[in-house]
Point group: C2
């Protein structure tokens, strides 16, 4: 399995709008081959921001890369960058891709 | 759901030993109330390290905090800090706790 993460440093007065934007968006992920799950996570509050992290779990890195080359991916990211008049985050999200090397628990059988 | 993450900056010549130590350790997580899943993840390679991240998924933050106060937690962390003669990481692991605020996919029904 492969997990594509983005880390967002959200301005403290913009957390509500940031969450609403994610919770109400249209998503086509579940139509994609190899899509396993998506999680949006709210993390620690720091001096000038609250850390959020999105995790998209794929059966393989290839499935993720196919998604990034899709029309749906381009459409959703164009929308994300144009539907706000004010910045919600400090800088751009930070992308990190991870391979799952050990699984203990309910998804063990799905691990590669 | 609550995800307890630790981020490890592993020295490039220590990745094999780091992985072996995790893959072969004894774990008692599955005996704990509220334990959902554990993942060890290998992330991007950077100039002086490879980023790894461990994710322990709990039904609630309370379940996680109960675990950190347990004898099993103390025992496993004492072992981790004493069973090596050489450092495998740059500095200490960085802890971040996250609340799951949106789930799309197979665990949707388990989300709180």
């Amino acid at each position: 399995m492969f997990i594509a993460m983005n880390r967002f440093k959200v301005l403290k007065d913009a957390t509500h709008e940031f969450e609403q934007r994610w919770l109400t968006r249209e998503t086509y992920l579940h139509e994609r081959e190899g899509f396993v799950a998506f999680y949006m996570l709210r993390g620690p509050e720091r001096e000038d921001h609250v850390l959020y992290s999105s995790h998209t779990v794929w059966a393989s890195k290839d499935n993720f890369e196919d998604w990034t080359r899709s029309e749906q991916f381009r459409a959703s990211h164009t929308r994300a960058s144009t539907n706000s008049n004010k910045p919600l985050t400090l800088g751009h999200p930070e992308f990190e891709g991870f391979e799952v090397i050990q699984t203990i628990g309910p998804l063990s059988n799905a691990a590669e």
